[in-house]
């Protein structure tokens, strides 16, 4: 397959896809549900082959878990599509209706972006979710999934594409790209592909961003922060920190850096660190933090029986002294190391003087993804929410909430840390743009330049 030629074909089909009625697009989604249910056994068979191949290749268990497509995952995927059918049509919304002058009417109408290339990790439900989002929003899509789910992706794509075409969508509405080297061909399709959405490792996303002239939406890094303020409620805050770091450390919205107000550090660190270490989190931090931790240990305030007692840190063994004292050793890191995304059970620690220093640190070292303040002080919270320049600014809740499903968008094609177009979790609204329609009756600009006529700009 020559990707360039296929992309050009798709570009020509895009206006027809964009013109498909809401009924047709929803009918396609319903047909996808139908065909997935009818072909469940064949899908599971192909998936078992992918899983077997991964096991034979000694792929890590955590990865294999993600490759598996079982009854539960199929049920969730179908529930997701069903929810999407019920969501409001993102296409054809009139967001401005203005009479510029007598009989000269301007409308701004939402329209699909056109042709979108999505490159995603080896997760079978991703193919279904992304296809559904693109169909619902009237976009044509070129899909490239991870190679570890090649057989599952192949059967899923065939079923999804067949259902879409059977419902009346253009043949070129969806295209599957299967070979890794075809990604480089895709990157050269400017003019035909309107948008690329890469998902995966930092390096991979950065590679895409550096090697194409097509606009890219997504995030290379997810360096999320929590700032534990002087006025934080520790009983409420510690579980939030633990959730944000440990609930799923491999994802972009997990916290990487904890900033602690210096005034409460000696009291707060014992509780926080016991809870984190009990979950197996490794500590890194400034020299100041490393020294403070040593002092706290020497004073029996950290790693002892009493520390953390009475605070529900949602981890069973916090407050017990079963943990090796060495687990509290803080590996000293330099300033520039704070721009590191671990996606692992490691956390960076730093003390700051106040919320202003915290916000400055986040703006300097963060990736503008999602950052949180833990505080009972309204003024400090407002300062943080206002001054931190990130897609998500949170107060008193886990950074892990940064997700299209949790925001109620039905699903997401990715999370954007760019500032243009869509920011944060990107759902249907991020997959449309708009056009201006101007309807006249022979109006000339010359008449307005000469002063013969005047605009009156009346909004309906």
């Amino acid at each position: 397959m020559v990707v360039r030629e296929e992309a050009r074909k798709m570009k020509l089909a895009a206006p027809h896809m964009a013109a498909a009625s809401e009924e047709t697009r929803n009918a396609a989604l319903a047909k996808i549900i139908e065909t997935l249910e009818e072909n469940r056994d064949a899908i599971f068979r192909e998936n078992a082959a992918d899983v077997q191949a991964a096991e034979d290749a000694n792929v890590a268990k955590a990865v294999i878990k993600r490759l598996k497509f079982d009854e539960n995952k199929l049920r969730d995927a179908i529930a997701g599509i069903r929810q999407m059918i019920g969501l409001e049509d993102p296409v054809g919304k009139v967001t401005l209706r203005r009479e510029l002058d007598e009989g000269l009417v301007l409308q701004r109408v939402s329209v699909p972006i056109g042709v979108i290339g999505v490159i995603f990790e080896a997760r079978p439900d991703a193919l279904i979710q992304i296809s559904a989002l693109c169909i619902k929003s009237g976009n044509c899509a070129i899909l490239k999934g991870g190679k570890e789910t090649a057989r599952t992706n192949k059967i899923l794509f065939g079923l999804v594409h067949g259902a879409a075409v059977a419902a009346g969508l253009p043949e070129s509405c969806l295209l599957q790209v299967e070979l890794h080297n075809e990604i480089d061909e895709l990157l050269k399709c400017q003019g035909d592909v309107d948008l690329l959405i890469p998902r995966g490792s930092n390096q991979f996303v950065q590679y895409i961003m550096d090697n194409t002239n097509i606009p890219v939406m997504g995030h290379a890094a997810g360096i999320c922060h929590i700032y534990l303020d002087e006025k934080a409620d520790l009983a409420k805050s510690v579980p939030v920190i633990v959730d944000a770091k440990t609930q799923y450390p491999a994802v972009c919205n997990a916290v990487e850096t904890l900033l602690v107000n210096r005034k409460i550090a000696a009291d707060a660190l014992p509780v926080v660190l016991e809870a984190l270490v009990a979950k197996g989190v490794k500590l890194r931090g400034t020299k100041e933090v490393a020294e403070l931790v040593k002092v706290l240990q020497a004073a029996g305030k950290l790693g002892g029986q009493k520390a953390g007692a009475g605070v529900d840190v949602t981890c069973q063994n916090a407050g017990e002294s079963l943990i090796d004292a060495g687990a509290y050793d803080v590996e000293v890191m330099g300033e520039e190391d704070f721009a590191t995304e671990y996606t692992d059970l490691i956390i960076s620690l730093k003390l700051v003087e106040d919320v202003a220093e915290a916000a400055d640190h986040v703006n300097k070292f963060g990736s503008h993804h999602t950052d949180c303040i833990l505080t009972e002080d309204d003024a400090a919270a407002e300062y943080f929410l206002q001054m931190v320049d990130s897609a998500g600014v949170y107060r008193n809740c886990s950074t892990r909430f940064a997700d299209g499903f949790r925001y109620g968008f039905g699903a997401e094609v990715g999370v954007s840390t760019g500032k243009l177009h869509a920011r944060g979790p990107v759902g249907l609204e991020g997959l449309v743009t708009y056009k201006y329609r101007l309807i006249g009756n022979g109006q000339l600009v010359g008449d307005y330049v000469s002063g013969k006529k005047q605009f009156h700009h009346r909004d309906f």
Copy 2:
């Protein structure tokens, strides 16, 4: 000056600029009006020096006209700022307010983009307009104007910046870059500059787009089309074509290509071409058009006394035979030449079978700027407006209306032919993005993953 260092300083000031109240931003605009009025004589003096230098260098008269900053232009500039003060604040608009679950509230709030670099042509009013747009929208801006207005820009920038700081905006809210080689430094400021808006020639804008990793908003080419449909009302349509081509041919929203329905070509071309040629427009076209024009001339239907009579083509000498018959010669052009922006009194001509072929041509050779159908047929119009993939799709009016002021946006920083973020004329709304604010009370994602809690997603 080291642009990189200044941009970094500005980046740190950007959250403070973004937090400036509407009152402060409007006060800054009011103070700019005041200082411009107080210093009018000094401004005119500097401008006279620029004009003198241009005259000494034998710069073309049309260009010199644009350089001049006189009473009228100052009055218009001030009227523009006054209008902007009255416009609704684009910052702080809540566009989504949703309770994800009990006590967990998500808001999407509009915020300034941050640091914007604008590179604009030698037009003194541009500096004032762009500064005002950025101040009103809470953005910091780096400004580089054309060298032919260097002295005017310098005094204007000093006055505008002084007024903004006096009103309470941060010292780093605006920066002027004066040397041409500093543009290349600016292009390397990714991370500190959030957006570049280049204005100027195709080649210049393309150079910017090809040489930076910073997102660029704007348009390289403005290849606008008019399709004259079978059911067009000629008396209404011919003046629209003339206005779109000749009212100001040097700008991006002037029409470059006229597509004519083959069925009416023999009747319509004489009227259309007489009107265009009378305005000095040179003709290019397909071989088919060139031959048809020869036939029409031979038959006395083109260039004779009768052609165009009775149709008001808003040009005095249409219908008269004072024009040299050679002016109707159509220079034959190839397919690929249709992707040419003339920004001059030249028009490309092609016959098409129907509206579908017209839309295909526009999508293939256009620049997705602004395209128009002239027709009384609602079905043909709807097809064109739906299928043409451009920022502006028009019916029965001049493409020259594609302009922020004419759309009622107060002013524009440029016109975008990209599909992401802002499309078409870009006013205040295109200079803001949004952030999500999530306010909780200790909520953990783990509780939702385990099923202990459920989202209810209630919009306020």
